[in-house]
Symmetry: C2
Subunit: 235 residues, 2 copies
DNA sequence: CGGCATATTGATTGTTGTCAAAGATGGTGG
DNA sequence: CCACCATCTTTGACAACAATCAATATGCCG
């Protein structure tokens, strides 16, 4: 696993060299998944968990009638289904939003870690707790923010998380190549409305979004519109 | 701690007698909190986590303008802030919806457990992962279900969870004494609309809700309306 | 130059929020 | 036991927001 990914994990807690070596060995096998492909099928009972080494992925939950809700967006360095280690079958699918590189970590190895490496175990546990805190922030957006505020919040969150893995340029621009339908599924709105939300953010001079890259033009106003507080990200 | 609470935890995984004794000792000190009181203040850095022995509690997140979103409703036997063990300060508050009895477990003891009891550690970790799965189910409701479907889903979920701790009568009735304002804060709607949603569910003969107790009159139609699948609860 | 996916626009409908008022309920002290 | 009060529930009218439908435009790729 590239060193910068370990650095991301290390932000969640101190790591000894021994523990770093364990993580490196755990993540040496990398697989590629094409855009729009399932990284994990909903309801799967997988034998290993996955760490996203490159690209964008999303957790998805479907309703019978075909409506879909994204419950998380994952960036480089995130675990995609560490929860699947202790929760099977998984209650959601994981979709590749772009072409992704994914490291696979056998559950057998995670069991060993929980038996012998309490500090590393707490670190992994903590990473799932930060996932849960992020979900709570999304719940507030879904329930209580306007669509525009919700979208602003998502962009602020992504910017901070991508910055932590060195994916944001000095002008606060970053790649984020998703369709407006997928954005709508993340925000819990229709794709048509997602389009209008983007136009409002663009029209107010808060962001520029085209060709799959976003640039935040006015961070302060965007964060105020979203009432964004990054504390929950644990960075 | 009363034995039935251990039984609830044991549903999440097998427990040896030794592990049961550890949990019993951990939860012998019980505190009472009055209705509407803060069990945990938002942003607190607590030295212990809490297990709900009696009553109803909710995780709350506030926006600056006073709007509020409940991100979880807790029933007897649930951990209220086990996430606070590895996540501080906490990103949410915990509110007593009714008078509550709460057991307090020092973080020091949790650290010992993670050092010496891998099986128990995985059980506790798993319980936070089921919390997270429940949050994902709520996100789908918030984003993609109608208000009526969302409310139906919440009632189905509560019924199943309360049944697991023996709090549901044979006629599918259970105590759930919360105000319509609090219900609205859970569903992400106004209290006025919460009232109309309840009237619709009552008018269709799906539930009876008065005097703080709910009775589900037609489980099949309620579950269908909610497209409810209890798998995520891990019970 | 098509052909396909995605983005954009306008018109209309349906859902939900807000405001304001009236009714019901439960608890308290006289 | 009753009167009073605070809190909660219910109702109606209206405004704001977002979904849906249908059409058009744009961009990308072979």
């Amino acid at each position: 696993m590239p060193t910068h990914l370990i650095r991301k994990l290390a932000r969640y807690g101190p790591l000894s060299d021994h523990e770093r070596r364990i993580l490196q060995r755990a993540t040496d096998r990398i697989r590629t998944v094409e855009a729009d492909g399932d990284i994990v099928a909903d309801g799967e009972t997988p034998g290993h968990c996955r760490l996203l080494a490159e690209g964008f992925a999303a957790r998805t939950k479907m309703l019978q009638d075909g409506r879909r809700q994204l419950t998380a967006i994952h960036v480089k360095g995130d675990f995609l289904d560490l929860n699947g280690f202790l929760l099977s079958p998984l209650d959601h699918g994981v979709l590749a939003l772009t072409r992704c590189a994914v490291a696979e970590i056998p559950h057998r190895l995670l069991t060993e870690i929980t038996e012998e490496e309490p500090n590393l175990t707490r670190l992994l546990w903590r990473s799932t707790l930060i996932d849960a805190a992020t979900q709570r922030a999304w719940m507030v957006s879904l329930g209580r923010r306007s669509s525009v505020g919700h979208c602003a919040h998502l962009l602020c969150e992504l910017c901070v998380r991508l910055e932590a893995v060195g994916e944001v340029s000095p002008d606060r621009s970053f790649r984020f190549p998703i369709t407006q339908t997928e954005l709508g599924d993340a925000l819990g709105i229709s794709s048509v409305h997602a389009n209008r939300v983007l136009q409002e953010l663009r029209g107010d001079g808060l962001i520029v979004w085209s060709g799959g890259t976003v640039r935040i033009e006015d961070w302060d106003r965007l964060a105020a519109l979203a009432s964004f507080d990054p504390a929950y990200l644990g960075l």
